[in-house]
Amino acid sequence: MKIILNNRPENFEGDSLSVSKIMEIKSFHFKMLVVRLNDKLIKREEYETTDVKDGDDLKIIHLVSGG
């Protein structure tokens, strides 16, 4: 399937993958993140159960300390 991940087109195997699976594949191991799927907030507890499909717009933003 083809999705937009952080504003870049990316290809993945299969028709759908969970958010946590995508994070594993792309090595997003960060502690603090904001995940938005099609502009909807996905909470930490929903990463395993939320599926990303072909054509979806996924943003995984790393939140680091400082400010």
Binding site: V34, L63, V64, G66
Partner: protein, 196 residues
């Protein structure tokens, strides 16, 4: 592009919330006040200390003062007539609504990543119609081309999303100010979207 007077006329009617009065918050507040925003609601529990002066909009004589008091002092010197609602408090899930529900835009200017996460999650869930301008990653110097804005719906995140502030990677005025002003600039874009 409208004239400054036209811009000021619109901004003077707007209210911007700023969560945190440190490197991001204090500098963002200055730019917004200078641009003509009518009212700021700022919350921070901390005091000014000498280590803050390498990036935060405070002065040596203000060491020891509560940041909200020191910032009020500084902003009033720029704009004596501006409305400043300063809250000497921790921002938590229990008071976010109370503090910021009347705002046209909210700026996330916290230090800790878990505080950033808390505010973003709360705002997107409970106050989804208020645009939130957050920041992540601004430590060190150089690589300013990596400072950018990522937008997702009503959420904007400014910074390079990787330079975490630490002993080995300290915050410094130039980069912190760039991010604080990227935030302020997005605020202006949002508040002025009907006139451009």
């Amino acid at each position: 592009m409208p004239t400054f007077n036209q811009i000021k006329a619109i901004l003077s009617q707007k209210t911007v919330g700023i969560a945190g009065a440190g490197g991001l918050g204090s500098n963002c507040a200055v730019s917004l006040i200078r641009s003509g925003v009518g009212k700021l609601i700022v919350a921070d529990y901390d005091r000014v200390s000498p280590e803050n002066l390498n990036r935060q909009f405070y002065f040596r004589k203000q060491s020891g003062m509560k940041k909200v008091d020191a910032l009020r002092e500084n902003l009033q010197k720029i704009c004596p007539g501006c409305l400043l609602q300063m809250h000497d408090t921790w921002v938590t899930k229990d008071n976010i609504e109370l503090l910021f529900s009347v705002c046209d835009v909210v700026v996330e200017a916290f230090d800790e990543a878990d505080q950033k996460s808390m505010l973003i999650e709360y705002m997107l869930t409970n106050l989804p119609d208020i645009p939130l301008v957050a920041a992540s990653g601004m430590a060190g110097f150089g690589r300013t081309d990596q400072l950018k804005v990522v937008q997702s719906g009503n959420l904007y995140v400014c910074g390079d999303a990787q330079s975490e502030i630490s002993e080995e990677n300290p915050p410094l005025a130039p980069r912190v100010n760039i991010v604080a002003n990227m935030q302020a600039d997005i605020v202006l874009q949002l508040l002025l979207k009907d006139v451009v």
